[in-house]
């Protein structure tokens, strides 16, 4: 497999605040066009990492480059290539949505016509056209978030950094934000985001790094991480008097494209599959073809929660119920 283009390269990054070590020996790469997630609980070091990458925080040790430019020595170049959507609702209550974007147009040194063209495009993208000329203090949380995202996209960046993009949003707004983020990826924009929502990381990220206590515990695609724990599995139970058919059934199932491994157990088969939804009909068909009567099928799908616990030794929120994680 060819190595995809590396757009962010972080090597042995470390940041301390006085006696507190926020991140320790962090290394990872982000590839062009992917959604890369930093997943971890509050205080894990996600935001610190992000703030170093957007050049507003100098690292204590180690290096980071964005599109080949060092975040410390070439900060100005990095700044002109990236967009940033902060965690806080960083809006000025007394400015209208349009005025926010005009201000940023000036800060990114866009011409007046360029700025106006971008503003029209972005207001449309985030559905804020109707509200563009109202002051931001009249905006709902979701609208402020949309404005935040429009602001981050104004410079037409190659890479967008999002810090907890859906923190505290209602379900509908969250789904809409996810939709915007996916649309950005379709346009070829690389996205780096932090999140402490497992579901968000699972749904949205092409690859993610699980960060805990300032270090990276594991990096991979959500699927890789989950299959690393054994993956999705089907448990087939066969009727008592037909157990002698199991080896044949095993061979038949093993030949299916989505099946990774099959093991015989006293009552049936354990089948490791890529996707239970897709493999289930095929497995049933094989059983029928071989004339095996199935007593039942169960499937188990490891969730990112399991991955998180396996790699950090604790849950993401220490058992606090969270509506977003249902």
């Amino acid at each position: 497999m060819m190595d995809p283009a590396v757009v962010i390269d972080v090597a042995r990054l470390r940041k301390t605040f006085g006696p507190v070590t926020a991140i320790e020996d962090l290394s990872f790469t982000v590839h062009a066009g992917e959604i890369f997630g930093l997943l971890g609980p509050n205080g894990a070091g996600k935001s610190t990492t992000l703030r170093i990458l957007i050049t507003v925080l100098p690292p204590s040790a180690g290096t980071a480059t964005v599109l080949g430019h060092d975040v410390v020595t070439e900060a100005d170049t990095v700044r002109s290539l990236i967009g940033y959507v902060p965690q806080e609702r960083a809006v000025d209550r007394f400015l209208t949505g349009r005025e926010h974007l005009e201000l940023l147009g000036g800060l990114y040194h866009l011409s007046r016509t360029e700025t106006q063209a971008r503003i029209a495009e972005l207001l449309k993208l985030v559905d804020l056209e109707e509200h563009a000329d109202r002051v931001a203090k009249t905006y709902s949380g979701g609208m402020k978030r949309k404005l935040d995202i429009a602001c981050g996209l104004l410079p037409n960046p190659k890479i967008v950094f999002l810090d907890e993009p859906t923190l505290g949003l209602d379900v509908q707004s969250r789904l809409r934000i996810w939709d915007y983020i996916r649309r950005l990826r379709e346009q070829g924009i690389t996205i780096v985001m932090t999140t402490n929502y497992l579901e968000e990381a699972d749904q949205l990220c092409d690859r993610l790094a699980i960060i805990d206590g300032g270090t990276i515990r594991v990096i991979g695609s959500p699927l890789e991480l989950k299959t690393g724990l054994g993956g999705d599995s089907l448990a087939l139970t066969i009727k008592d008097h037909e157990t002698e058919k199991l080896p044949r059934l095993r061979d038949g199932v093993m030949a299916l494209p989505l099946v990774r491994d099959v093991r015989i157990n006293p009552t049936g088969l354990d089948v490791l599959v890529e996707s239970p939804e897709k493999s289930l009909p095929a497995v049933i068909e094989v059983a029928q073809r071989l004339d095996c009567s199935l007593d039942g099928i169960e499937y188990h799908r490891p969730r990112l929660d399991d991955v998180f616990v396996a790699h950090t030794g604790h849950g993401l929120r220490g058992g606090t119920p969270d509506a977003a994680e249902e």
Binding site: R51, I54, T55, V56, L57, P58, D76, T77, R79, S80, I82, Y84, P86, Q87, E88, R89, A90, V91, D92, F94, L95, E99, E102, L103, L104, G105, G106, L107, Y108, H109, V135, C151, P155
Partner: protein, 261 residues
């Protein structure tokens, strides 16, 4: 970084403050009116008879006080000037600005330009109200220009102090406590309200090292005496302000760099 870019940034950032102000008309009105109403009219009228004209060396207390109120306005606006950046720091807006390819100083310069534009307008309002109360500027319109120049120069150092505090404190509560602690003594321990000769000895000593005193002593003769008396005082004030501004800018820049990186 070209000059064209720098100009564009500073203009965009200054426009932000202007737009905000236009949304807070009520607050603007009070900002403009407060110093002349509270200090010039109330304080001036209150102490008119209590003040000894011989000691003041001025035709009346109002004309003595006018110079002090002008400089106090510069002091208060300058010292409070950084607070909006503190709010920006607290809600993440500053970080958003810092993630854009701007020269770091444009954030500060825009704030200074805005605060001093407001202050300049207030000075003109104060001098106009004083005029209504019979205070005639001995040096005329050129005198007003010199007063504005002194005010703007004093404002550089004050704004730098304010930003330095804003970028050093933990919360805006701390900022306002420190501000109150700083501004009133600077007013009372200066020649704003009474001449040095009327102060107890120890107070005179403290007032002598307060830059406020030197600034007021340059503005006051421009109002009540005339060019001959004013020119040496103005020259001295410019010299002292050059030093004062240099020190404050150095400290402010250090605090800024520590906070922003």
């Amino acid at each position: 970084m070209t000059f064209q870019h720098y100009k564009q940034e500073v203009l965009a950032l200054t426009m932000r403050w202007v737009r905000r102000l236009s949304r807070e008309k009520f607050s603007m009105l009070f900002t403009l009116v407060q110093p002349m109403l509270f200090w010039l009219i109330f304080f001036g009228s209150l102490f008119q008879r209590a003040a000894n004209i011989q000691i003041l060396d001025a035709p009346n207390y109002m004309s003595f006080l006018a110079g002090g109120v002008v400089v106090m306005t510069v002091l208060n606006n300058g010292l409070a000037g950084g607070v909006d950046l503190l709010f920006d720091k607290e809600n993440g807006f500053l970080e958003r600005m810092m993630s854009t390819p701007i020269h770091r100083s444009s954030v500060i310069l825009s704030r200074y330009l805005f605060v001093m534009a407001i202050t300049g307008m207030q000075i003109l309002v104060i001098l106009s109200i004083a005029f209504v109360f019979g205070v005639r500027l001995e040096t005329g319109l050129p005198g007003i220009a010199v007063i504005l120049a002194i005010g703007m120069l004093f404002g550089v150092g004050l704004t730098a102090i304010s930003m330095g505090i804003a970028f050093s404190v933990k919360s805006h509560g701390d900022f306002f406590s420190l501000l109150g602690f700083l501004s009133l003594p600077m007013i009372f321990l200066s020649s704003a309200l009474v001449p040095l000769s009327a102060m107890p000895g120890w107070m005179q000593v403290v007032a002598m090292v307060n830059p406020m005193t030197w600034v007021i002593d340059a503005v006051r003769p421009l109002i009540i005496t005339g060019w001959d008396a004013a020119i040496p005082q103005v020259a001295l004030a410019f010299l002292i302000l050059a030093i004062f501004d240099a020190v404050c800018l150095y400290g402010g820049a250090k605090a800024f760099r520590r906070a922003i990186g």
